[in-house]
Amino acid sequence: MTNIIHKLQNIIKTTSTITSTNIIFMQQFLKQHNYALLPDEFVEFLHYFNGISYNGSVIYGIYTNENLQDISNTNTSIIHPLHKDLVFLGHNDFDYLAYNQKHQIYQIIDKADFEVLEEYQDLSPALQHILKIDYE
């Protein structure tokens, strides 16, 4: 986790202004909407980067601005049959990055037919996959 954060800090020069209250509200929102909750590792990540837009890929953050790709509005816009087990955390051109609470695993899911393309136990490789960092 530390490695990828350092790597991202070199590439993206932004600082997160997220607060614990923001995160609590977001978790409440997800609970109310019957979605999976944000995993602890991703919450930690949010403290470093409240959303990333890089190389055509997006990691969602918690924003008050309606035009930004917020965790709440992206999750409400995706209709997945198993959404109660999932929380979508980001996307690239073809895939979503989601956390499957039921199986406690990060998944790379095909945008077109929701087929699971890859699974990761940790957030770092999942982020690397969706942000295409290894491809550079």
Partner: protein, 969 residues
Amino acid sequence: MASRKLNKSIKQHPELFSDEKKTASEKILDELEAAKALTSISDFTEIPKALEEHLEEISPEEKLTVQQQIDELLDRYYNGDRNVDKSKRYVHREEYKRDLIRTLKQYGIKYIEKHHYPLSMDEKHVIRMDFYGTINRPHPTRLSRLYKNYCRPYPAAVNMERTNKKTKQADDETSPVNNNITYPFKSYDLSTSPVWNNLFRLFPRFQKLENTMLKTVQSMHISPDDLKKLTVYDFSDILFRTYRKNEDDLDAHLFLGARQAFVKDVFKKHENWIRAYLQRQNIHPRYIDELIKTAQSKGITGNITISSDINAYMCQFASERSVEFQKYITESIRSDNYAEEIRAQIQNDSYIIQGPTLHFLQENQTSFEKFIKQDLMEDKYINTILSQFERQTPPYVLKDVKEFLKNNRVLFHDFLQNHTHADKIENYIFKKLPDKINPKYLHIINDFINDHQNEFFIAMLENSRSSEYANFALNTLSPTPILNDYAKDMLTSFILNDEKNFSRTISPEILEDIKENGLSDDFLTDISPYIQKNKNNIKLFFKANNAFTFDELQNELIESTTLGIQTNGVTEEDDKINKHFILSNTELFKNWYSRFHTEKYKNKATFDYNQIATKGISGKNEELCITFLKERLNNFIEFSAQHNVSATQIVMALKQKKIHHNQELSEIAHNFIIAYGSTFKNFLLQQQLQQKEKEVEIKLQSLKTTRTTIQDRSLMHKFILDNQSLYMQCLGQNKPLNNQTQQIYSRLIHNKSTSEDKELLKAYLSNNIYNYLLFQQDDAQLQPHVKMIADNVKKRQIDPTANHWLKVFTQEHAEEFSEFLNKRNIFPKDQENELLANINFNGNKIICKFNDGYSFDIRLTVHHKHAIKDTGDKKMSMENIAAINNFENLCIFTDFWHKIMHSMDCMEPVEDKERYVSRLMLEDSNTIFYGGETPEDQLKYDYLNDPRSLRNENRLKMLVAERYGYQND
């Protein structure tokens, strides 16, 4: 890693997916929520018996298993088999898929794998607008450069993806051009726009908006030529600008969308079926009622608000905590803040008269009535004083004046010779009298009467037989205000307080004099205009500075009223008390009335007697004489015996009433009358007075029932003037005022008070705030009072007091109350947090609103059964893309099944469009409500043969043929 299934062409069109994301937020709009609540199985009253038996066979556990089974199959399909090794997890995906398809088929859902009609983004966008009936504010990046020249940008919105300078510069370039040419409305023709004509016009709902939208186009100064070039999103933006309510709105409502229209129709046509279905799902009956009502009226099944008067629950809540409730009331009343609270409550416009107040009123009835009386008397007193400055000659005096002038016409005529246009003035005066007359002519009359005071006084005396009235009549013609010392002092204080205004209208010398010596009688006429102008302020000043006690005020009022009676006469305002005075002294009035006429009829009696004495008894007066003789028969017989007339003869003649035919008898009678001359005169007078007594009875009767006339008023005035001391006594008792006071009190006690009554009560309580507080805090009062409230609450007898305390108590214990409601399963369990936020205390009612939209277990959503231009089903004849939103293509699903319906969607891009390559569909295309896997929970209706659909189909066929030229596949 699982093998990537998508072909490469998809990845060449990433914008499709990003676009899907941007527009996907609209998708959420079709999620219609419903609530799961609690009803027992015994409530299933509307289900047919056979169905009921069948239902009993399916236990809830089994029902759950179907959903669990599909969930598991789905999980295995998407997440692989978790029981096997990671590397082999997705190997048998095709097998899992087949299992899923097979299972879904059992429940009437089939899997179709074929290439559907490819749909462009523009088409998708218009379909969505037609479906939802609303439009989101289009993103500026979607608008064409041409269109941007005509429109002002929306308030700056930060876009995460637009951070580089280049994009910003590009945005700056699109600032609107200064084009102020207004084109004629007729120059716009939407047929020339390919986008509008070939796409929007396919949808009847958009067609209706054309004229309204074109007005916006005109106001934006868009040239008719450029109208042809506008894109779908440009038109969307115009529609958004036309229909948004506020500048900063993010969406606008266009019309009743297909989704809402469909929901309305289904709920109206199949209310009983839906009700029974929801009951089977254990939905709370109150929620069912509200859901059906909202769906039928608005076409929506989400955001349901259950408004309810939950007094019963509040009563139960408080009764269960009776000791706490009573303690709360006691402590609240004894708290230090209570005085302020009470004061604030009293000042509040929506102040409710509660139990303690009424109790306090009952305890202090005398004091309260005295307070009201004092208030009313203050009003009356100040009005009496001010009326001195508005003196007018009463009409009944003018009537007397007219009579006098008529009787002295020659004198008056001579008097007028000094004036020019004498004849004209004379005519005017006689024509107008006794009605309102121009003051300048009244002045002439006054001068004349002053010149002939004695004559006028004698005439008035003759007419009214009262020197008091004669004096009054003389005085009233030259009205000068007459005030007592207190009134003068009060006016002096007011004038000195209002120096600036006073000096503006009245000369400064007068002000100086008033400052030095107080207000003297000499200036009363001079200040009259000022007083009349400041009437209201004087009233307020007097009320605020009144130093009189109740008794003093009463005495002053009596004096000033009497003064008014002496100087102003009686007016309409005094009718009530004057009538009361007469009616409570009827015997006196009758007596006075007779006496009043005695002088007049004395003369008449003498005249009549003289007539008989000189001319003898005639046919005219025979009856009167016979009555006189009959009354004194013995005397007359004795008198007649002296003239040898027998008693029998006399009795017979009197019986037959024939005296004047018998000359002898007539002479004897005549002599008898002369012999008893004074007695006869008195007899004549009494006869007249008897007649008047009958008249007075009628008069009294009419006073009770009919409106007072000018003549009545004149009579009243004369009666009062002759009985002033009695009248003052009557004023002291002031019965009408007492009645009025009692009525106010009674209205307040019986909760029928008017706003004026309420204001009086508020003033009284404010004046006696500490007494009021002490009364409430007194143990002897407080304990029984609190107990009474608690008992009333227990019996559910909610009076305003109980309601007040219930409301405050529940509000104070909102959290506990919320728990209480939840424990009773009135609302779903996961509402706890929402419930707290949604308990609103509105007036006397507590309204619970449930509009969070997330927490109900059942969610109803509308699903498109077939994808666009799906030719798989021959029954489904799609003439054009607008038919996607036809009722025959829509179906209401519960949340679970709607997700299942989309669970195997697969799309692929085709050039700049995208199409379904696989999709789940219903076996029976007539299903319009899919509530569960059992046939009982699925409602079917053939919308293809519905008259509305047939009409729609015909219209579309015509439109396609005329304008679109679209050909069927």
